[in-house]
């Protein structure tokens, strides 16, 4: 399975004065090449900011109740410390936590989409031989199994099913239209989407990395258990 898209968010108690500070916090980065930005809900309680680094495959968002990013590309680029855009994300998050009216961090969450290319017939084998699911309905055009569970303080929702090109649009797999995800077109295979959330009192790169490793290993473990990895 190859991770195709990664979404990560850190939530915190609403910062009521957020709109008074967010522009100051993101302004220093406007000197960076090719940065695109947007301010949403201007001059309201819900004012938020977006920074888009298309070439690097990142979209960042900063809101009064949380920060989030979407990354489309090779996951190995965000696993090691030093990714420049990820550093900006955590620097701005840390700046937010130092705001006068910042209360506390509540949780972080991740949604990860992964795809493995296989022949259609092999994908269907998963349906017919999946030890977790008995299918009494015969041949299906689409299917997925969904597992929801708690594990070591993490709440997990895992979906595994077949992959078709139509899933690119359905799951918005390539929002930044990166070169990395162009190979998704015209393929069939298996697709997994995992969402994990965990209560935390502070956010950091290492906690992000732990959640990413957990998400990827959970998908791998599931597929191994079905003899499909």
């Amino acid at each position: 399975m190859t991770t195709r898209k990664l979404q990560y968010a850190i939530d915190y108690i609403h910062v009521l004065t957020f709109k008074d500070y967010i522009r100051d916090l993101i302004a220093p980065y406007f000197d960076y090449e090719l940065l695109e930005y947007a301010i949403d809900n201007e001059n309201t309680l819900n004012e938020s900011a977006r920074l888009i680094f298309k070439v690097e495959g990142f979209g960042l968002q900063f809101k009064k109740d949380g920060v989030a990013f979407v990354f489309e590309g090779d996951a190995s680029l965000v696993k090691k410390s030093g990714n420049p855009v990820l550093e900006m994300f955590f620097k701005i998050f840390n700046d937010i936590t130092r705001l006068k009216h910042y209360s506390r961090t509540t949780r972080h969450r991740m949604t990860l989409d992964a795809v493995r290319f296989t022949e259609r017939s092999k994908t269907e084998e998963l349906l017919y031989n999946n030890p977790f699911i008995k299918n009494p309905f015969g041949k299906l055009t689409e299917f997925a199994s969904v597992l929801i569970f708690n594990y070591e303080g993490k709440e997990v929702k895992l979906q595994v099913g077949n992959y078709f090109e139509a899933d690119i649009k359905k799951y918005d797999l390539t929002p930044l239209k990166t070169k990395f995800n162009q190979e998704l077109f015209g393929q069939t295979g298996l697709m997994a989407q995992i969402t994990v959330q965990e209560a935390i009192s502070s956010g950091s790169f290492s906690k992000f990395k732990d959640l990413l490793n957990f998400s990827e290993s959970t998908i791998t473990k599931y597929l191994e258990s079905t003899n499909n990895e």
């Binding site: 977790f132 594990y151 709440e155 979906q159």
Partner: protein, 183 residues
């Protein structure tokens, strides 16, 4: 992939057929697994004394990458019909000036903010034209790459670098010449 096409069992009404919006769900709690079809937005799922709130699962990430403005007009911007490969930001390092001599500026670079790993590096003085070269001055050193090319940009905006990132007065390692060079 569809969430709603296979029915295993419906809680409370096994005989009825699932609707198009019903989702087969397997729930596992370390040592047990249960299977059920739920409606699309369950309020709360209780499992062996634990509670799984689906709230977070249903809070969709809704990052819109459109309707944006360009922060900085740049000659490096990829225009429509322009087939030059854009530069990609591959490194962005906080640095503190610790020495300078001849045409060289010596920097203490924070290469791993999480692990607090620093390296000493030397850059050409010409990269710092227009900046005050005082010991202790803070810089951001960015490396951009594209096929067969690298480009360095030094920024002196103090808001990009935190002085608290540089508490040390000595240095871990002498720069070995590889950090800013292509492998």
């Amino acid at each position: 992939m569809s969430e709603a096409l296979m029915r295993i069992e419906k809680k409370g009404d096994i005989s009825s057929q699932p609707s198009a919006k019903e989702t087969p769900i397997i729930r596992s709690n370390n040592d047990s697994i249960s299977i059920a079809v739920s409606t699309e937005q369950p309020e709360e799922i209780a499992l062996h004394g634990e509670t799984i709130s689906p709230k977070g699962f249903n809070e969709k990430f809704s990052l819109n990458i459109f309707d944006t403005q360009i922060a900085k007009d740049s000659v490096f911007r990829l225009q429509e019909g322009n087939y030059i490969e854009p530069w990609k930001l591959v490194e962005d390092v906080s640095a503190r000036l610790i020495d300078q001599y001849d045409e060289v500026v010596v920097l203490e670079c924070l290469i791993d903010p999480e692990a607090k790993i620093y390296m000493e590096t030397e850059l050409e003085k010409s990269l710092f034209d227009g900046y005050q070269l005082q010991v202790g001055a803070l810089f951001k050193v960015s490396k951009y790459s594209r096929k067969n090319e690298n480009r360095f940009v030094v920024r002196a905006n103090p808001l990009l670098v935190s002085i608290t990132d540089f508490p040390k007065v000595d240095f871990d390692k002498k720069y070995d010449g590889n950090f800013f060079n292509p492998e």
